[in-house]
């Protein structure tokens, strides 16, 4: 399908890029990305992916917009307080780019529903804020052979890695299992600088676009860390994937998805 003049203008800065061009933009427009978590990381990622013209964007989150979210979750506005985050995020994405098809999942991602939801997407973006979700997303994506971007932020620090299951190391290759309860504080307890979500969430969007277009090298086999206080990025090379990994080795111990206990402070009774 040829581009309309409006699309040529909208995506002109992409099309001009040698690494993207017409073919790359078409791949973006035929591509699909699922964003799990419409919070700090998911907000900038969703904005950039919608702006880029990704054909279909799924967004999953069970929460509603809270006043304390607005310091970093830039896809929501003050008027959205109390609304489901997925509704608010979808509305903003559609307003940025009506070309984009947005699918919303107003529910917690669990072992019961994750396989059905990730199936329809080319790439998954983990924008969650807790370890149980991160391990669940990793294990599900490994089992479904679904490429994904992991990220986490806390205080002035962020980290990021991209996983091509059964090719590159997975999250569980690096972080074997859940940290002990209360060993790692949540953003709620420890705080997080708002723009950190913008930096790391935008890097996730970049990885998704690079994956869809096949341009450049993905952040696989590496963990990127960013410290905003020292303004230093580090790339840590990871050992090869699989060996001894409970989920992505050739003879995995974990063959069924696990719902680890949700940290208590992540639960808001009465909200779904």
């Amino acid at each position: 399908m040829p581009f309309t003049n409006e699309q040529l203008e909208r995506y002109s800065r992409h099309i001009i890029l040698k690494e993207i061009g017409v073919k790359g933009q078409k791949k973006i427009m035929n591509g699909s990305v699922l964003i799990i978590g419409a919070g700090g990381l998911g907000a900038p990622a969703a904005l950039y992916l919608a702006a880029a013209g990704v054909g279909k964007i799924g967004i999953a989150d069970a929460d509603v917009v809270d006043l304390s979210n607005l310091q970093r979750q830039v896809i929501h506005t003050t008027a959205d307080i109390g609304r489901p985050k997925v509704e608010s995020a979808a509305e903003t994405m559609r307003a940025i780019n009506p070309d984009v098809e947005v699918e919303t999942y107003h529910e917690f991602i669990t072992s019961d529903n994750i396989m059905d939801i990730i199936r329809d997407y080319d790439f998954v973006l983990d924008g969650t804020d807790n370890f149980s979700a991160k391990f669940l997303i990793n294990d599900a994506c490994v089992m479904a052979d679904k490429p994904f971007s992991h990220a986490g932020i806390l205080r002035f620090k962020g980290q990021l890695m991209t996983v091509i299951p059964h090719e590159s190391p997975c999250y569980r290759c690096v972080f074997k299992t859940m940290p002990p309860k209360d060993a790692i504080p949540t953003c709620r307890q420890a705080g997080v600088i708002g723009a950190m979500a913008g930096v790391i969430g935008s890097l996730q969007a970049l990885e998704a676009v690079k994956f869809l277009t096949g341009s450049g090298d993905l952040l696989t086999g590496k963990l990127l860390t960013f410290d905003a206080l020292t303004m230093k990025f580090h790339t840590i090379n990871l050992p090869p994937r699989g060996e001894g990994c409970a989920v992505c080795s050739d003879h995995p111990e974990i063959t069924e998805l696990i719902d680890y206990e949700q940290p208590v402070c992540e639960f808001k009774p009465g909200q779904n």
């Binding site: 040829p2 003049n5 040529l8 203008e9 002109s12 099309i15 001009i16 061009g21 017409v22």
Partner: protein
């Protein structure tokens, strides 16, 4: 350089109705849809397009054959596609 009449034009694109950077984008789109070695004629306005489009096309690795002044404030740029893949 060959005379204009010797050059077989395979496709044409008119970029007089758009401004930078869509001028180059339209040219690029037209070139991507052509086969290696085919010739595209790009109809453009004098001024900014004539200054920038030929240079951008060259930077993408294509071959500039000729820039024809139509003496009505427009030019025709003849480009031979050099495939990148």
């Amino acid at each position: 350089m060959a005379a204009v009449s010797d050059i077989k034009i395979d496709d044409k694109v008119d970029i007089t109705d758009v401004v930078c950077p869509v001028t180059f984008v339209k040219t690029k789109v037209a070139l991507e849809e052509m086969d290696d070695g085919q010739v595209l004629s790009v109809h453009m306005n004098d001024g900014e397009p004539v200054q920038n489009v030929p240079r951008s096309v060259k930077e993408e690795g294509h071959q500039i054959l000729k820039l024809i002044d139509n003496e009505d404030g427009t030019y025709d740029l003849l480009v031979r596609k050099v495939g990148e893949d």
